[in-house]
Amino acid sequence: MKLFEFEAKEILKKHGVKVPRSVLLEKGEKNPLEKIKAAGLEPPIVVKSQVLVAGRGKAGGIKIAKTWEEAEKLIAELFEKPIKGLKPRYLLIEEAIPHEKELYASIIIDRSERKPVILASQFGGMDIEQIAKEKPESIVRMYVDPFLGLKAYQARKIGKMIGLKGKILNSFASFLIGLYDVFMEYDADLAESNPLAVTEDGVIPLDARLIIDDNSIYKHPDISERNLEDTGEYTEWEIKARKMGLAFVELDGDIGIIGNGAGLTMTTMDLVYLYGGKPANFLDIGGGASKELVKTAVKFLIDLPRTKKIFMNIFGGITRCDEVARGIVAALEELGGSPKPLVIRLSGTNEEEGRKILQENGIDAYTDPIEAVQKVVSL
C-alpha cells in the first residue's frame, strides 16, 4: 500500500529524521494562509499535491509560491488540478529548502539475496529507472543483514561511495539509518527519498515514498487504509473487482479471461494472444474456488464493457471442475443466458462430473486448451 508523501514524512520524523517544516491542508480549509502562518511558515513555500501517482512534479503537482498572493492562488489551483486523473484531497505546504545538490536513496528487498538492499546515487531528482539508464555506474548497492540491521559504519560507507564527506556524510548516514529503521519497522516494500537535498547543514528529504507490504498492514494499526480510488493504481473496474474479492487486472483487448492459478491465467492470456486474439483482462479464481466465486467472476466479466467474448480455462487440481460448472450454470441462470459468447476449457479433478453438469444445461466444454483458444479467437 502506497503512503502519501505527508504520511511517509510524518513517520520519518517520528524516527528522528529531519524533514522540511510543513503544514497539511485538507480540501475545504477555510483559511489556508492563516493555518500556514500559524505553523510558522512564510513564502517562499512549496505547494505539493498529495496524490499517489509517480511523476507528480512533471505533471504540475508541485509549485513554489514566492508571495502570500501566489500561495493563495496556487493552493486554490492545485486543489482543483487533476494529476494523472486524480484530484488531491490534501496539499502539503512546506518550507522551501535552498540546496546545492540532490541525491537518490532507497531501500527494497532483494529477491535473490533475500536481504534488504540499499540503493543510492549522487544523481537524485530523476527517477531510478532514468538513473539506471543514464548513470548506471552511479548507483551504489549495499545488502544489509536483516537480523543485525544497518550499522552506522555501513551507512557512512555508502555515503562515501556516492562522494559525500564531512558533516554531510554523517548527516546522510543518520538519514539512512532512520530510513532503514522505518523500512524494517513498517514492513516496507519500498522506502525512498528522491530527491534527497544536500544543504549546508546536512541532507533533508524533499520527497519521501513509503510502500507497505499489503500482507503486513494488520501489524501497523497507525496506518490508515487507502481508498482504492485515491491510489491511482487501479481502473474503475479493478476497484469494483477488488471490492468483490476478485484478483483482476484490466488489459486493453476484448477477450475476457478467467483462469485458476496466476500462472495458468497468465498463460491463458498468452495463448489468446499467440492465436491472434487480445485479452481484455487477467482474472484468477485461485485454488479451490467455490461455486459462488465462479458465479461472481463470470457475471463480472460479462458485465465488463470491454469484453466481447469470454474464455474460461480451468485445470482442476484443488479446484473441482463440478464446482466450477455449477458456478457457471448459476451465473447464466441469473443472467438468463449469456449475452456474450463463452468458451470453456475444463480439465482435471472431477472433469466428467463438471462436463455433465454443463451439458445438462446446454453448455459445451473443451478438454484441450489449444482447441479452446482457437475457438474463442475465431468467434
Binding site: 500482507n215 487486472v249 500462472g263 495458468l264 491465467t265 498463460t267
Partner: protein, 292 residues
C-alpha cells in the same frame, strides 16, 4: 533419490487441525506419504485421521524422532513462528504452503533457515511431489507419474497442466517442486536446478517461470557457466502481462522494466534452452532433448 522428498520422508503437518491442514493431510495420506505427527498448539492429545497431534514441534519430534520434514498450513499471522519452531526443533526440510505471509517475515525466516542448513520450500507454494514416493503439498497426485524429468515451477496450476501433459505423453517426473509465487522464497529457481543437477535419477529438467524477478535469467547464467549440464526446457508465463501490475502472485510483477517474459525467454534461448510457446509443447521439446 529424487530431490527434497522421497520414500524416507517422515512428515509433520503443522496446522493439522485447521480446515486446509486436515483436508490435505487426508490427501497426502491417500497418496502414501508417511505422516508421523501433526501439530496445533492447544490441540495436543487429539488425533486427525489417526495421526497423533502435539502442542509443539518439539514434542512431536520427541515422540517421533524419525520426523525429518514439515509442511505448514498455519495462517499467515502465525506461519513465521511455525517455521522458526520447526527449524529450532531440528527439522531439515520445511514446506510452507501458507500464502499472504509478510515479505519481511519470510525474508527473516529464510535467512535463519539458511544459517541452520534447512531447506525451506515456499511460502505460497503448492509443495513438492516425488511421484509414487511422497507428496508433500497440495497438488493433485493423480496427474503425476514416476519418471526422470524434474520440474521446477513458480506456479501451481500451470505445473499441473504441464505435468499432466507430460504424463499423458508417457514422460514421468523424478520430482516436481513448486517453489512459490512470493517475492522472497526459501528455495529459488537456481537452487532447485542445482538439486536436480546433482540428482542421479533426474535426466532432464522443465523450468516453469513467469514474469517478475530475475530467477530465470540467473538460471540461464548457470547453464552458460556449465553448472547445469542436464538438458533443460522451459515455459515462461506472462508474455502479455503489462508492466507495474501484480498478476495474482505477489512476485509476478514487471518493475523498472526488468522481469519481462521476453527478457527471460531471450536469456534462456541464448544459452540453448528450448522455450515452449504453449505448455502443451513441453512434452515434444522434452522428447527432442532426451533423444540426444
Amino acid at each position: 533419490m529424487a530431490i527434497i522428498v522421497d520414500e524416507n520422508t517422515k512428515l509433520i503437518v503443522q496446522g493439522i487441525t485447521g480446515k486446509e491442514g486436515r483436508f490435505h493431510t487426508k490427501l497426502m495420506l491417500d497418496y502414501g506419504t508417511k505422516i508421523v505427527a501433526g501439530v496445533t498448539p492447544g490441540k495436543g492429545g487429539t488425533d486427525v485421521f489417526g495421526i497423533p497431534v502435539y502442542d509443539s514441534v518439539e514434542e512431536a519430534k520427541n515422540a517421533h524422532p524419525e520426523a525429518n520434514t514439515s509442511i505448514i498450513f498455519v495462517p499467515a499471522r502465525f506461519a513465521a513462528d511455525a517455521v522458526y519452531e520447526a527449524i529450532d526443533a531440528g527439522i531439515k526440510t520445511i514446506v510452507v504452503i501458507t500464502e499472504h505471509i509478510p515479505v519481511h517475515d519470510a525474508m527473516k525466516f529464510v535467512n535463519y533457515g539458511k544459517s541452520k542448513g534447512v531447506t525451506i520450500i515456499g511460502p505460497n507454494c503448492p509443495g513438492v511431489i516425488t511421484p509414487g514416493k511422497a507428496k508433500v503439498g497440495i497438488m493433485p497426485g493423480h496427474i503425476f507419474t514416476p519418471g526422470h524429468v524434474g520440474i521446477v515451477s513458480r506456479s501451481g496450476t500451470l505445473t499441473y497442466e504441464i505435468a499432466y501433459a507430460m504424463t499423458k505423453a508417457g514422460i514421468g517426473q523424478s520430482t516436481a517442486v513448486g517453489i512459490g509465487g512470493d517475492p522472497v522464497i526459501g528455495t529459488s529457481f537456481i537452487e532447485a536446478l542445482q538439486m536436480f543437477e546433482e540428482d542421479p535419477e533426474t535426466e532432464a529438467i522443465v523450468m516453469v517461470g513467469e514474469i517478475g524477478g530475475d530467477m530465470e535469467e540467473r538460471a540461464a547464467k548457470m547453464i552458460e557457466e556449465g553448472k547445469i549440464t542436464k538438458p533443460a526446457v522451459a515455459f515462461i508465463a506472462g508474455r502479455t502481462a503489462p508492466p507495474g501490475k501484480r498478476m495474482g502472485h505477489a512476485g509476478a510483477i514487471i518493475m523498472m522494466g526488468t522481469g519481462t517474459a521476453e527478457g527471460k525467454i531471450k536469456a534462456l534461448e541464448s544459452v540453448g534452452v528450448k522455450v515452449a510457446k504453449t505448455p502443451m509443447e513441453i512434452p515434444d521439446l522434452l522428447k527432442q532433448v532426451l533423444k540426444k
